[in-house]
Symmetry: C2
Subunit: 313 residues, 2 copies
Amino acid sequence: MAVLGIDLGGTKLSLGVFKETGEIIFKQTAAIENRGGREVANLIDEQIRKILRTHENIQSIGIAVPGIYHEKTGTVWAPNIPGWSDYPLLRQMEKVGDIPVTIDSDRACYILGEAWMGNAKNCNHAIYLAVGTGIGAGILVDGKVLRGAHDIAGAIGWMALQQPFERKYIDVGNFEFHAAGEGIARVAKELLSKQEDYKGVLAQKDPGSITSHDVFAACDQRDELAIEVLQVCIRFWGMAVANLISLFNPEKIILGGGVFGPAVKFIPAIKDEADKWAQPISKKQVSIEPSALGTDAGLYGAALLALQRIKPQ
Amino acid sequence: MAVLGIDLGGTKLSLGVFKETGEIIFKQTAAIENRGGREVANLIDEQIRKILRTHENIQSIGIAVPGIYHEKTGTVWAPNIPGWSDYPLLRQMEKVGDIPVTIDSDRACYILGEAWMGNAKNCNHAIYLAVGTGIGAGILVDGKVLRGAHDIAGAIGWMALQQPFERKYIDVGNFEFHAAGEGIARVAKELLSKQEDYKGVLAQKDPGSITSHDVFAACDQRDELAIEVLQVCIRFWGMAVANLISLFNPEKIILGGGVFGPAVKFIPAIKDEADKWAQPISKKQVSIEPSALGTDAGLYGAALLALQRIKPQ
C-alpha cells in the first residue's frame, strides 16, 4: 500500500509516493511556469495520472495548497495562482481516479509533516511557524489541525506586537511587515535611506534590489546595519513564539520556511527573547526547534493527509 | 434529571442545580472565609451533601476552580487558596456520592457557560476573554476547551503586545500588567506620580488606595488622567482581541470578568482598535460581545461539564 502526497507551491508542483511508514519511494517535480486557473489543476491531474500508471498500489491522495482550503465547499483560495480565489479543486481531483483525495493548506501540511516524520514526531500539540515571503502558522491541537470557524486560523502574520498602529501594516499585518522575508529587506531599505553615513556591505548594493538573503550575508560579515535589522526580527520572532507558548501551551514550536534557512542560527537568541515574555510554566514545557524536513515538510504533510483518510488514527 | 454546577471563587462558593435545559432550579452560595487546604474541599463536600439530600435527581456534578485543573492527575493549582498547589480535588469529590464529578478551570467554564446559555450559544469556535484582577482566556476549538499539552493553554495575560520588554512584566505578563483590574490602578498611580500639576478627580484620593473602579468613575466624570489610562487599556484589549481573531478565526469573542462590568461601554472602541490589526477576512466573521451570564458564567459552565459527562455531545 502507498499514498501520493502533492505539494503545490507558487512556482512548482512536488509529488511524492510514500509507504505508510513514511518512506518516500518516488519523487518528482513539475514547473508551474505561467499557468493559471484551470491549467494548474490540469497540470496536477496529468501528473497524478502518470504516477498512478506506474504505482498501482496508491490508495489515497493528499494535496497541500498555497493558501486557504475551504473544507465545506472543497474550494481553494491561493493568492499567487491567477484565478484561484475560490477554485473547486476537490471536485476536479476526485475525478482523476477512483481514489480518495484530501486537501489542506500548506501551513496545515507543514505541521502534519513535522508531526509525522520530522521534529514534532508524536506531538499532539505542536506549531509550525512558517516564515518565508509571508508568515503563517500551522497549529496542531489534540493532534488535529486548528481550522477555526471558516478555515483561516493560524494567520499569525497579522499578529499585533508593536504599538502604535501604522498605516504600513494594513496590507500584511504588523508581524509580517517586520519579520517575513520581504519585511527583512524592507526594514533594511528603510534604515539605509535614513543612515546616510553608513558605508557597510549593503551600501554597495542597489537599494531597490536588496533581499533578505543580502541582509543575512551582510550579517555574517558583521555588518552593523544588517545586525540591527535582524535584531528587530529576532525580537518580533521571539515575541510571536512567546505568544504561541502562552496561548497554546504546546510541546513543540517548529521554525521553518525559507527564512529558517539562514535564520536557524538565531534560534537560541529567539528562545532568549521568548523566555522574557512567555507564561513561566509553559515556556519550560516547550521545545523550539528548526524544521527537520525543510522544503519537503508540505509534501510529507500531504502524504499524511492521504494516509489519515484511509487509516483514521 | 438534574445536574449540580459548582463555581469555586477566591472568596465564595456558588452552587446551582440545573435542569438539562439550562434552567436553574436552586442556587446558593457559601463564604470561604479564611479556609485553606483541606478545609476548602471539606466545605465543598459538605455543601454538596446538603444539596444532594434535597435534590435526589442530581446525576452529575461539575466544578469550576480558580486556577489550573490537571486532567490526568485530577489535581488543582489555585494560587489564591492556601495549600492548593497540586490539590487532589477529584479523588476527594468522587467520594461524596455515587455520582460522576468533572472539574475544569474557571476560564474553561466561562466559555462553556456562554456557549451553552449565554452570548456564544451554539458556537463551536468561541473565546471568553476574562479581565478581572488578572487576565485569562477560555478557548473553545471545535466545541472543546483548548487545554494544551499540560492544561495551561489560554494564559493570555502573558501576551506580548508592547516592545521593549521591561522588568515590571516579569510577575504577571505584559498584557495583564497594563490591562487587568490591578493594571488599570497601577498605570493610574504611575501617571499620577509623574503629573504633578494634575488636579483632577483622582488627585483627591490617597494614591495608594486607587482601584480600577475609581478610574472608571473618574472617566465617567471626563477626568483627563482616567481617560488616558483607559485609552491605553483599550489599545491593549483591542490588540489582544485582534490576535485572537487572527490566530483562532472564531465566531465569537466574549468580553467578561469584573472589569467588563464597567468597561462594557468601551466595546465599540475595542472593536475599532482590533479592526486595525486583525486578519481582514477573519475580523468580518467574528462578533465581539459582552458576557450574557456575568458572574454566573462559571456556574453555567460547571453545570455543562456535569451534563456533558452523562450526555456526551
